[in-house]
Protein backbone atom coordinates (compact mmCIF):
# COMPACT_ATOMS: atom_id res chain seq x y z
CA UNK A 1 0.00 0.00 0.00
CA UNK A 2 1.51 3.28 -1.09
CA UNK A 3 1.71 6.19 1.32
CA UNK A 4 -0.87 8.99 1.24
CA UNK A 5 -0.31 12.69 1.67
CA UNK A 6 -2.41 15.82 1.66
CA UNK A 7 -1.65 17.61 -1.56
CA UNK A 8 -2.91 20.49 -3.62
CA UNK A 9 -3.85 19.73 -7.21
CA UNK A 10 -0.82 21.62 -8.48
CA UNK A 11 1.57 19.72 -6.25
CA UNK A 12 -0.09 16.46 -7.31
CA UNK A 13 0.57 17.27 -10.97
CA UNK A 14 4.24 17.91 -10.19
CA UNK A 15 4.49 14.70 -8.17
CA UNK A 16 2.71 12.73 -10.88
CA UNK A 17 5.27 13.94 -13.42
CA UNK A 18 8.19 12.80 -11.26
CA UNK A 19 6.42 9.49 -10.65
CA UNK A 20 6.18 9.05 -14.44
CA UNK A 21 9.92 9.56 -14.83
CA UNK A 22 9.83 13.13 -16.10
CA UNK A 23 13.10 14.83 -15.22
CA UNK A 24 12.93 17.93 -17.37
CA UNK A 25 10.62 20.87 -16.85
CA UNK A 26 10.64 24.09 -18.86
CA UNK A 27 8.36 26.92 -17.90
CA UNK A 28 7.58 30.49 -17.10
CA UNK A 29 5.73 31.64 -13.95
CA UNK A 30 2.02 32.34 -14.17
CA UNK A 31 -0.85 32.22 -11.66
CA UNK A 32 -2.51 29.83 -10.83
CA UNK A 33 0.03 27.16 -11.83
CA UNK A 34 3.04 28.50 -9.89
CA UNK A 35 3.05 25.75 -7.27
CA UNK A 36 3.88 23.21 -10.01
CA UNK A 37 6.98 25.12 -11.11
CA UNK A 38 7.92 25.87 -7.52
CA UNK A 39 7.76 22.21 -6.51
CA UNK A 40 9.71 20.98 -9.54
CA UNK A 41 12.35 23.70 -9.19
CA UNK A 42 13.15 22.19 -5.80
CA UNK A 43 12.72 18.51 -6.58
CA UNK A 44 14.08 17.97 -10.11
CA UNK A 45 17.69 18.97 -9.34
CA UNK A 46 17.67 16.42 -6.49
CA UNK A 47 17.03 13.55 -8.94
CA UNK A 48 19.50 14.69 -11.56
CA UNK A 49 16.87 16.50 -13.58
CA UNK A 50 16.60 20.04 -14.84
CA UNK A 51 14.19 22.84 -14.02
CA UNK A 52 14.67 25.59 -16.55
CA UNK A 53 12.85 28.91 -16.44
CA UNK A 54 12.65 30.59 -19.81
CA UNK A 55 12.14 34.24 -20.70
CA UNK A 56 8.53 33.62 -21.67
CA UNK A 57 6.02 30.91 -22.56
CA UNK A 58 6.93 30.91 -26.24
CA UNK A 59 10.51 29.99 -25.42
CA UNK A 60 9.41 27.46 -22.79
CA UNK A 61 7.33 25.65 -25.42
CA UNK A 62 10.29 25.47 -27.81
CA UNK A 63 12.46 24.13 -24.99
CA UNK A 64 9.77 21.51 -24.42
CA UNK A 65 9.87 20.72 -28.14
CA UNK A 66 13.65 20.34 -28.15
CA UNK A 67 13.60 18.21 -25.04
CA UNK A 68 10.89 15.95 -26.49
CA UNK A 69 12.96 15.33 -29.63
CA UNK A 70 15.71 13.75 -27.55
CA UNK A 71 13.22 11.10 -26.41
CA UNK A 72 13.20 12.19 -22.77
CA UNK A 73 9.97 12.70 -20.84
CA UNK A 74 9.43 16.46 -20.67
CA UNK A 75 6.74 18.75 -19.33
CA UNK A 76 5.65 22.33 -18.95
CA UNK A 77 2.83 23.88 -16.96
CA UNK A 78 1.05 27.09 -17.68
CA UNK A 79 -2.23 28.97 -17.47
CA UNK A 80 -4.48 30.38 -20.17
CA UNK A 81 -2.57 33.48 -21.43
CA UNK A 82 0.69 31.51 -21.29
CA UNK A 83 -0.95 28.59 -23.07
CA UNK A 84 -1.95 30.94 -25.91
CA UNK A 85 1.67 32.00 -26.31
CA UNK A 86 2.83 28.38 -26.66
CA UNK A 87 0.85 27.54 -29.78
CA UNK A 88 3.44 28.20 -32.44
CA UNK A 89 5.63 25.49 -30.92
CA UNK A 90 2.66 23.22 -30.20
CA UNK A 91 1.64 23.26 -33.86
CA UNK A 92 5.19 22.50 -34.91
CA UNK A 93 5.41 19.64 -32.39
CA UNK A 94 2.25 18.17 -33.91
CA UNK A 95 3.88 18.12 -37.32
CA UNK A 96 6.88 16.13 -36.16
CA UNK A 97 4.86 14.12 -33.61
CA UNK A 98 6.93 15.12 -30.60
CA UNK A 99 5.46 13.61 -27.41
CA UNK A 100 5.18 15.87 -24.37
CA UNK A 101 2.86 16.84 -21.53
CA UNK A 102 1.39 20.24 -20.69
CA UNK A 103 -0.49 20.93 -17.48
CA UNK A 104 -2.98 23.70 -18.29
CA UNK A 105 -4.29 25.31 -15.11
CA UNK A 106 -7.03 27.44 -16.64
CA UNK A 107 -7.96 30.88 -15.47
CA UNK A 108 -10.71 33.13 -16.74
CA UNK A 109 -10.11 34.80 -20.10
CA UNK A 110 -9.99 36.18 -22.71
CA UNK A 111 -6.85 38.26 -22.82
CA UNK A 112 -4.78 38.47 -19.67
CA UNK A 113 -8.04 37.69 -17.90
CA UNK A 114 -8.06 37.97 -14.16
CA UNK A 115 -5.19 36.17 -12.46
CA UNK A 116 -7.19 35.21 -9.43
CA UNK A 117 -10.40 34.15 -11.10
CA UNK A 118 -11.71 30.70 -11.80
CA UNK A 119 -12.76 29.86 -15.35
CA UNK A 120 -13.16 27.00 -17.87
CA UNK A 121 -12.83 29.23 -20.91
CA UNK A 122 -10.11 27.31 -22.79
CA UNK A 123 -12.20 24.30 -23.83
CA UNK A 124 -12.18 25.08 -27.55
CA UNK A 125 -8.54 26.09 -27.53
CA UNK A 126 -7.48 22.80 -25.92
CA UNK A 127 -9.75 20.44 -27.82
CA UNK A 128 -9.89 21.97 -31.31
CA UNK A 129 -6.22 22.97 -31.53
CA UNK A 130 -5.24 26.49 -30.52
CA UNK A 131 -2.61 26.56 -33.25
CA UNK A 132 -2.80 26.09 -37.00
CA UNK A 133 -2.65 22.92 -39.04
CA UNK A 134 -5.60 20.65 -38.16
CA UNK A 135 -3.76 18.69 -35.51
CA UNK A 136 -5.08 17.04 -32.36
CA UNK A 137 -4.03 16.91 -28.71
CA UNK A 138 -5.26 14.38 -26.20
CA UNK A 139 -6.93 16.33 -23.38
CA UNK A 140 -7.42 14.68 -19.97
CA UNK A 141 -9.76 16.35 -17.48
CA UNK A 142 -9.28 15.20 -13.87
CA UNK A 143 -11.69 16.31 -11.13
CA UNK A 144 -10.04 15.10 -7.93
CA UNK A 145 -6.50 15.66 -6.68
CA UNK A 146 -5.97 11.89 -6.90
CA UNK A 147 -6.93 11.98 -10.57
CA UNK A 148 -4.54 14.87 -11.20
CA UNK A 149 -1.73 12.69 -9.82
CA UNK A 150 -2.88 9.61 -11.76
CA UNK A 151 -3.72 11.35 -15.04
CA UNK A 152 -0.36 13.12 -15.16
CA UNK A 153 1.25 9.66 -15.16
CA UNK A 154 -1.26 8.49 -17.76
CA UNK A 155 -0.51 11.57 -19.87
CA UNK A 156 3.14 10.60 -20.23
CA UNK A 157 2.18 7.07 -21.24
CA UNK A 158 -0.31 8.25 -23.87
CA UNK A 159 2.14 10.86 -25.18
CA UNK A 160 4.76 8.18 -25.78
CA UNK A 161 2.29 5.58 -27.06
CA UNK A 162 0.88 7.83 -29.79
CA UNK A 163 3.69 10.39 -30.18
CA UNK A 164 1.31 13.20 -29.39
CA UNK A 165 0.98 16.16 -27.06
CA UNK A 166 -1.18 15.41 -24.03
CA UNK A 167 -2.78 18.22 -22.05
CA UNK A 168 -3.91 17.71 -18.47
CA UNK A 169 -6.65 20.31 -18.06
CA UNK A 170 -7.18 21.67 -14.57
CA UNK A 171 -8.15 25.12 -13.35
CA UNK A 172 -7.98 27.60 -10.50
CA UNK A 173 -10.18 25.40 -8.29
CA UNK A 174 -8.49 22.07 -9.00
CA UNK A 175 -4.97 23.49 -8.82
CA UNK A 176 -5.45 24.89 -5.36
CA UNK A 177 -7.81 22.50 -3.70
CA UNK A 178 -6.20 20.05 -1.32
CA UNK A 179 -7.21 16.45 -0.80
CA UNK A 180 -5.76 13.16 0.31
CA UNK A 181 -3.67 11.49 -2.39
CA UNK A 182 -2.40 7.96 -2.57
CA UNK A 183 1.09 8.22 -4.12
CA UNK A 184 0.66 5.07 -6.16
CA UNK A 185 2.73 4.23 -9.16
CA UNK A 186 0.54 3.28 -12.09
CA UNK A 187 1.62 0.43 -14.32
CA UNK A 188 1.23 0.72 -18.06
CA UNK A 189 1.87 -1.74 -20.88
CA UNK A 190 5.33 -1.60 -22.51
CA UNK A 191 5.96 1.17 -25.03
CA UNK A 192 7.70 0.96 -28.40
CA UNK A 193 11.37 2.02 -28.42
CA UNK A 194 11.94 5.67 -29.30
CA UNK A 195 14.03 4.87 -32.36
CA UNK A 196 13.03 8.23 -33.80
CA UNK A 197 14.71 10.26 -31.05
CA UNK A 198 17.58 12.55 -31.97
CA UNK A 199 20.83 11.71 -30.27
CA UNK A 200 23.22 13.77 -32.34
CA UNK A 201 23.71 12.80 -35.99
CA UNK A 202 27.34 11.77 -35.60
CA UNK A 203 26.60 9.24 -32.86
CA UNK A 204 25.71 5.59 -33.30
CA UNK A 205 22.05 5.41 -34.45
CA UNK A 206 22.18 9.20 -34.71
CA UNK A 207 19.55 10.90 -36.80
CA UNK A 208 19.84 14.08 -38.79
CA UNK A 209 17.36 16.85 -38.13
CA UNK A 210 15.65 16.08 -41.47
CA UNK A 211 14.39 12.87 -39.88
CA UNK A 212 11.93 14.95 -37.86
CA UNK A 213 9.60 16.16 -40.56
CA UNK A 214 6.29 15.31 -42.13
CA UNK A 215 8.27 14.48 -45.26
CA UNK A 216 9.35 11.13 -43.76
CA UNK A 217 5.85 9.97 -44.65
CA UNK A 218 6.55 10.55 -48.32
CA UNK A 219 4.40 13.62 -48.85
CA UNK A 220 1.63 15.77 -47.49
CA UNK A 221 -1.31 13.44 -48.34
CA UNK A 222 0.53 10.51 -46.75
CA UNK A 223 1.28 12.60 -43.66
CA UNK A 224 -2.37 13.54 -43.14
CA UNK A 225 -3.44 9.96 -43.89
CA UNK A 226 -1.11 8.78 -41.14
CA UNK A 227 -2.37 11.47 -38.72
CA UNK A 228 -6.02 10.64 -39.40
CA UNK A 229 -5.45 6.93 -38.81
CA UNK A 230 -3.66 7.69 -35.57
CA UNK A 231 -6.46 9.97 -34.38
CA UNK A 232 -9.01 7.30 -35.24
CA UNK A 233 -7.06 4.76 -33.17
CA UNK A 234 -6.99 7.19 -30.24
CA UNK A 235 -10.75 7.75 -30.51
CA UNK A 236 -11.34 3.99 -30.48
CA UNK A 237 -8.92 3.09 -27.70
CA UNK A 238 -8.66 6.07 -25.39
CA UNK A 239 -12.08 7.70 -25.06
CA UNK A 240 -12.93 7.84 -21.38
CA UNK A 241 -16.10 8.89 -19.57
CA UNK A 242 -17.45 8.46 -16.05
CA UNK A 243 -21.06 7.49 -15.56
CA UNK A 244 -22.41 8.61 -12.17
CA UNK A 245 -26.01 7.48 -11.71
CA UNK A 246 -26.77 8.35 -15.32
CA UNK A 247 -28.51 5.06 -16.21
CA UNK A 248 -32.26 5.54 -15.95
CA UNK A 249 -31.84 9.25 -15.20
CA UNK A 250 -34.52 11.55 -16.58
CA UNK A 251 -32.09 14.44 -16.59
CA UNK A 252 -28.43 13.93 -17.47
CA UNK A 253 -25.86 16.51 -16.51
CA UNK A 254 -22.72 16.77 -18.63
CA UNK A 255 -19.78 18.56 -16.97
CA UNK A 256 -16.02 18.16 -16.71
CA UNK A 257 -13.28 19.12 -14.26
CA UNK A 258 -14.15 21.32 -11.32
CA UNK A 259 -17.76 21.94 -12.39
CA UNK A 260 -18.27 18.16 -12.58
CA UNK A 261 -17.34 18.05 -8.92
CA UNK A 262 -20.02 20.64 -8.10
CA UNK A 263 -22.44 18.76 -10.39
CA UNK A 264 -21.74 15.50 -8.58
CA UNK A 265 -22.89 17.11 -5.34
CA UNK A 266 -25.93 18.55 -7.10
CA UNK A 267 -26.80 15.02 -8.29
CA UNK A 268 -26.51 13.75 -4.72
CA UNK A 269 -28.78 16.51 -3.43
CA UNK A 270 -31.27 15.81 -6.23
CA UNK A 271 -31.28 12.06 -5.57
CA UNK A 272 -31.96 12.74 -1.87
CA UNK A 273 -34.94 14.77 -3.04
CA UNK A 274 -36.18 11.89 -5.14
CA UNK A 275 -35.20 13.41 -8.50
CA UNK A 276 -33.82 11.06 -11.14
CA UNK A 277 -30.66 12.88 -12.15
CA UNK A 278 -27.26 11.57 -13.21
CA UNK A 279 -23.88 12.84 -14.32
CA UNK A 280 -21.91 11.84 -17.41
CA UNK A 281 -18.43 13.26 -17.08
CA UNK A 282 -16.08 13.39 -20.06
CA UNK A 283 -12.65 12.35 -18.74
CA UNK A 284 -11.09 12.81 -22.15
CA UNK A 285 -12.23 16.12 -23.68
CA UNK A 286 -10.53 14.95 -26.85
CA UNK A 287 -11.28 12.26 -27.81
CA UNK A 288 -14.79 13.36 -26.84
CA UNK A 289 -17.12 10.59 -25.51
CA UNK A 290 -19.64 11.23 -28.25
CA UNK A 291 -21.14 7.73 -28.41
CA UNK A 292 -21.67 7.45 -24.64
CA UNK A 293 -23.46 10.79 -24.57
CA UNK A 294 -25.55 9.98 -27.63
CA UNK A 295 -26.66 6.69 -26.09
CA UNK A 296 -27.41 8.17 -22.65
CA UNK A 297 -29.38 11.03 -24.21
CA UNK A 298 -31.57 8.54 -26.08
CA UNK A 299 -32.80 7.18 -22.73
CA UNK A 300 -33.22 10.56 -21.00
CA UNK A 301 -35.70 13.39 -21.29
CA UNK A 302 -33.29 16.29 -21.03
CA UNK A 303 -29.60 17.08 -20.96
CA UNK A 304 -28.06 19.87 -18.88
CA UNK A 305 -24.53 21.04 -19.64
CA UNK A 306 -22.76 22.83 -16.79
CA UNK A 307 -19.54 24.68 -17.60
CA UNK A 308 -17.81 27.78 -16.27
CA UNK A 309 -17.79 29.32 -19.73
CA UNK A 310 -20.28 31.08 -22.03
CA UNK A 311 -20.74 27.75 -23.85
CA UNK A 312 -18.02 25.62 -25.46
CA UNK A 313 -18.51 22.08 -24.15
CA UNK A 314 -22.20 22.49 -24.98
CA UNK A 315 -21.34 22.57 -28.71
CA UNK A 316 -19.76 19.11 -28.55
CA UNK A 317 -22.68 17.83 -26.46
CA UNK A 318 -25.23 19.16 -28.97
CA UNK A 319 -23.32 17.49 -31.78
CA UNK A 320 -23.43 14.19 -29.86
CA UNK A 321 -27.08 14.39 -28.75
CA UNK A 322 -28.24 15.06 -32.32
CA UNK A 323 -31.50 16.75 -31.28
CA UNK A 324 -32.86 13.58 -29.66
CA UNK A 325 -33.70 15.61 -26.53
CA UNK A 326 -33.36 19.29 -25.53
CA UNK A 327 -29.89 20.40 -24.38
CA UNK A 328 -29.79 23.18 -21.77
CA UNK A 329 -26.76 25.16 -20.71
CA UNK A 330 -25.92 26.47 -17.25
CA UNK A 331 -22.91 28.60 -18.03
CA UNK A 332 -20.70 31.32 -16.67
CA UNK A 333 -23.62 33.57 -15.69
CA UNK A 334 -24.56 31.01 -13.02
CA UNK A 335 -21.46 31.98 -11.03
CA UNK A 336 -21.98 33.47 -7.61
CA UNK A 337 -19.67 36.48 -7.29
CA UNK A 338 -19.55 36.71 -3.54
CA UNK A 339 -15.94 35.90 -2.74
CA UNK A 340 -12.62 36.69 -4.40
CA UNK A 341 -13.61 34.63 -7.44
CA UNK A 342 -16.93 33.83 -9.06
CA UNK A 343 -17.83 30.16 -8.71
CA UNK A 344 -20.68 27.88 -9.85
CA UNK A 345 -21.82 26.28 -6.63
CA UNK A 346 -23.59 22.89 -6.33
CA UNK A 347 -26.62 24.58 -4.81
CA UNK A 348 -27.05 26.69 -7.97
CA UNK A 349 -26.90 23.58 -10.17
CA UNK A 350 -29.54 21.94 -7.99
CA UNK A 351 -31.84 24.96 -8.51
CA UNK A 352 -31.46 24.51 -12.26
CA UNK A 353 -32.25 20.79 -11.95
CA UNK A 354 -35.48 21.63 -10.10
CA UNK A 355 -36.42 24.15 -12.77
CA UNK A 356 -35.92 21.61 -15.55
CA UNK A 357 -37.36 18.41 -14.12
Amino acid sequence: MAEWILSSGNEAAARGAIQAGCKYFFGYPITPQNEIAEFLSEELPKIGGVYLQSDGEGAAAYMLFGGALTGQRVMTATSSPGFSLMHEAISHMAMVEAPAVIIEVMRLGPGAGTGGQQGQTDYRQMTKGGGHGAYRNIVLAPYTVQEIFDFTQLAFYLADKYRILVIVATDFILGRMTERVNLRSLNFPPLPAKDWALKGKDQKDGKSDHHMSALVFGGIPEFFQHQTEKHQRIIEEETRVENYQAENARLIIIAYGSTARAARRAVNIARKNGLEVGLLRPITLWPFPKEAIKKAASRAEKVLVVEDSPGELVEDVEAAVLEQVPVHLLGIWARHHSGPSGLIYPERIFQEIKALI
Binding site: L6, T31, G115, G116, Q118, F172, I173, R176, M177, T178, E179, R180, S258, R261, A262, R264, R265, N268, H336, S338, G339, P340, S341, L343, Y345, P346, E347, R348
Partner: protein, 190 residues
Protein backbone atom coordinates in the same frame (compact mmCIF):
# COMPACT_ATOMS: atom_id res chain seq x y z
CA UNK B 1 -12.93 11.17 22.11
CA UNK B 2 -16.36 9.69 21.56
CA UNK B 3 -17.58 8.88 18.09
CA UNK B 4 -19.59 11.74 16.63
CA UNK B 5 -23.06 11.10 15.30
CA UNK B 6 -22.53 13.40 12.38
CA UNK B 7 -19.47 12.31 10.48
CA UNK B 8 -19.23 15.49 8.47
CA UNK B 9 -17.67 18.77 9.50
CA UNK B 10 -17.63 21.63 7.11
CA UNK B 11 -16.50 25.18 7.76
CA UNK B 12 -15.80 28.28 5.71
CA UNK B 13 -13.32 30.73 7.21
CA UNK B 14 -13.40 34.20 5.76
CA UNK B 15 -11.24 37.24 6.42
CA UNK B 16 -8.81 39.66 4.86
CA UNK B 17 -5.40 38.68 3.51
CA UNK B 18 -2.90 38.53 6.40
CA UNK B 19 -5.42 37.48 9.05
CA UNK B 20 -4.61 33.81 8.61
CA UNK B 21 -7.92 32.44 7.41
CA UNK B 22 -6.03 30.06 5.12
CA UNK B 23 -3.68 28.87 7.88
CA UNK B 24 -6.74 28.07 10.03
CA UNK B 25 -8.00 25.92 7.15
CA UNK B 26 -4.68 24.25 6.43
CA UNK B 27 -4.13 23.29 10.07
CA UNK B 28 -7.67 21.95 10.38
CA UNK B 29 -7.29 19.97 7.13
CA UNK B 30 -3.91 18.52 8.06
CA UNK B 31 -4.99 17.61 11.59
CA UNK B 32 -8.34 16.38 10.29
CA UNK B 33 -6.58 14.05 7.87
CA UNK B 34 -5.14 12.13 10.85
CA UNK B 35 -8.69 11.43 12.11
CA UNK B 36 -10.97 11.39 9.06
CA UNK B 37 -10.95 9.25 5.95
CA UNK B 38 -11.65 12.18 3.63
CA UNK B 39 -10.52 15.77 3.78
CA UNK B 40 -10.77 18.69 1.42
CA UNK B 41 -9.42 22.21 1.65
CA UNK B 42 -10.38 24.80 -0.92
CA UNK B 43 -8.83 28.27 -0.70
CA UNK B 44 -9.66 31.33 -2.71
CA UNK B 45 -8.10 34.72 -2.35
CA UNK B 46 -7.71 37.97 -4.21
CA UNK B 47 -4.36 38.39 -5.98
CA UNK B 48 -2.98 41.02 -3.63
CA UNK B 49 -0.38 40.51 -0.91
CA UNK B 50 -2.37 41.92 2.01
CA UNK B 51 -5.87 43.12 2.71
CA UNK B 52 -7.77 41.40 -0.12
CA UNK B 53 -10.64 39.02 0.52
CA UNK B 54 -9.41 35.63 1.58
CA UNK B 55 -11.44 32.56 2.38
CA UNK B 56 -11.26 28.81 2.49
CA UNK B 57 -13.58 25.88 3.06
CA UNK B 58 -12.58 22.71 4.88
CA UNK B 59 -14.59 19.49 4.86
CA UNK B 60 -13.81 16.53 7.12
CA UNK B 61 -15.87 13.44 6.38
CA UNK B 62 -16.02 9.68 6.70
CA UNK B 63 -17.99 9.63 3.45
CA UNK B 64 -16.69 10.59 0.03
CA UNK B 65 -16.58 14.39 -0.37
CA UNK B 66 -18.57 15.11 -3.50
CA UNK B 67 -17.66 18.79 -3.78
CA UNK B 68 -15.06 20.86 -1.94
CA UNK B 69 -17.10 23.92 -2.94
CA UNK B 70 -20.04 24.60 -0.71
CA UNK B 71 -22.33 27.59 -0.94
CA UNK B 72 -24.19 26.86 2.28
CA UNK B 73 -21.64 25.69 4.82
CA UNK B 74 -22.43 24.08 8.17
CA UNK B 75 -20.28 26.68 9.93
CA UNK B 76 -18.79 30.06 9.05
CA UNK B 77 -15.97 31.84 10.85
CA UNK B 78 -16.15 35.53 10.02
CA UNK B 79 -12.96 37.43 10.84
CA UNK B 80 -13.75 40.66 9.00
CA UNK B 81 -16.88 42.79 8.74
CA UNK B 82 -17.39 42.96 4.94
CA UNK B 83 -18.25 39.26 4.64
CA UNK B 84 -20.68 39.06 7.56
CA UNK B 85 -23.91 39.88 5.70
CA UNK B 86 -23.49 37.26 2.99
CA UNK B 87 -22.44 34.49 5.37
CA UNK B 88 -25.38 35.27 7.64
CA UNK B 89 -27.50 34.29 4.63
CA UNK B 90 -25.39 31.34 3.49
CA UNK B 91 -24.94 29.19 6.61
CA UNK B 92 -27.39 26.26 6.75
CA UNK B 93 -30.28 26.28 9.17
CA UNK B 94 -29.07 24.82 12.45
CA UNK B 95 -25.49 25.81 11.61
CA UNK B 96 -23.00 27.97 13.47
CA UNK B 97 -21.45 31.39 12.91
CA UNK B 98 -18.32 32.59 14.72
CA UNK B 99 -17.79 36.35 14.72
CA UNK B 100 -14.85 38.42 15.91
CA UNK B 101 -16.69 40.75 18.28
CA UNK B 102 -13.55 42.83 18.83
CA UNK B 103 -13.69 44.10 15.24
CA UNK B 104 -17.31 43.49 14.19
CA UNK B 105 -20.14 45.25 15.98
CA UNK B 106 -23.10 44.02 13.91
CA UNK B 107 -25.36 41.29 15.26
CA UNK B 108 -26.90 38.33 13.50
CA UNK B 109 -30.64 38.58 13.00
CA UNK B 110 -31.30 34.94 12.15
CA UNK B 111 -32.61 32.81 15.01
CA UNK B 112 -32.04 29.38 13.44
CA UNK B 113 -28.25 29.44 13.74
CA UNK B 114 -25.98 29.27 16.77
CA UNK B 115 -23.84 32.40 17.01
CA UNK B 116 -20.58 32.80 18.90
CA UNK B 117 -19.54 36.43 19.38
CA UNK B 118 -15.92 35.99 20.44
CA UNK B 119 -13.40 38.77 21.12
CA UNK B 120 -10.73 36.83 19.22
CA UNK B 121 -8.56 39.79 18.24
CA UNK B 122 -8.62 41.12 21.78
CA UNK B 123 -7.72 37.70 23.21
CA UNK B 124 -4.85 37.43 20.71
CA UNK B 125 -3.59 40.91 21.60
CA UNK B 126 -3.66 40.02 25.29
CA UNK B 127 -1.56 36.96 24.52
CA UNK B 128 0.97 39.22 22.83
CA UNK B 129 0.25 39.15 19.09
CA UNK B 130 -2.87 40.21 17.17
CA UNK B 131 -1.92 37.80 14.39
CA UNK B 132 -2.86 34.67 16.38
CA UNK B 133 -6.57 35.60 16.34
CA UNK B 134 -6.95 32.86 13.70
CA UNK B 135 -5.68 30.24 16.16
CA UNK B 136 -8.03 31.62 18.83
CA UNK B 137 -10.86 30.96 16.38
CA UNK B 138 -9.57 27.48 15.54
CA UNK B 139 -9.50 26.59 19.25
CA UNK B 140 -13.02 27.96 19.62
CA UNK B 141 -14.25 26.04 16.59
CA UNK B 142 -12.82 22.77 17.92
CA UNK B 143 -14.28 23.33 21.39
CA UNK B 144 -17.72 24.06 19.97
CA UNK B 145 -17.85 21.26 17.39
CA UNK B 146 -15.50 18.62 18.84
CA UNK B 147 -14.59 17.83 15.23
CA UNK B 148 -11.09 16.76 16.32
CA UNK B 149 -9.18 17.15 19.59
CA UNK B 150 -7.06 20.28 20.05
CA UNK B 151 -4.05 17.98 20.55
CA UNK B 152 -4.31 16.89 16.91
CA UNK B 153 -3.77 20.49 15.81
CA UNK B 154 -0.93 20.93 18.29
CA UNK B 155 0.81 17.93 16.75
CA UNK B 156 0.51 19.52 13.32
CA UNK B 157 1.86 22.83 14.66
CA UNK B 158 4.88 20.94 16.01
CA UNK B 159 5.35 19.10 12.74
CA UNK B 160 5.10 22.22 10.59
CA UNK B 161 6.93 24.77 12.69
CA UNK B 162 9.24 23.10 15.25
CA UNK B 163 12.80 24.19 14.57
CA UNK B 164 11.61 26.59 11.87
CA UNK B 165 10.22 29.30 14.12
CA UNK B 166 11.11 30.46 17.63
CA UNK B 167 9.89 28.20 20.43
CA UNK B 168 8.07 31.19 21.98
CA UNK B 169 6.11 31.71 18.76
CA UNK B 170 5.12 28.04 18.67
CA UNK B 171 3.91 28.12 22.27
CA UNK B 172 2.09 31.41 21.58
CA UNK B 173 0.12 29.66 18.84
CA UNK B 174 -0.74 26.78 21.16
CA UNK B 175 -1.79 29.22 23.90
CA UNK B 176 -4.06 30.95 21.40
CA UNK B 177 -5.75 27.61 20.59
CA UNK B 178 -6.41 26.98 24.29
CA UNK B 179 -7.60 30.55 24.86
CA UNK B 180 -10.07 30.16 22.00
CA UNK B 181 -11.43 26.94 23.46
CA UNK B 182 -11.88 28.67 26.81
CA UNK B 183 -13.88 31.49 25.19
CA UNK B 184 -16.41 28.94 23.99
CA UNK B 185 -16.74 26.84 27.14
CA UNK B 186 -19.71 28.15 29.09
CA UNK B 187 -20.86 30.27 26.15
CA UNK B 188 -22.59 27.74 23.98
CA UNK B 189 -25.93 29.41 23.48
CA UNK B 190 -26.61 32.92 22.35
Amino acid sequence: MEKKESLLFQVTITGLGGQGALLFGQLLAEAGATRFKNVSFFPQYATVMRGGESECTVTLSEEEIDSPLVFEPQTAVVMAAPQLKQFEKRVVSGGMIFIDSSVITEKIERRDVKVFYLPATRAATELGDTRVANLVFLGAYLAATEAIPIEAVEEILDKRFKGRIKETLLSLNKKALRAGAKLVIGKRED
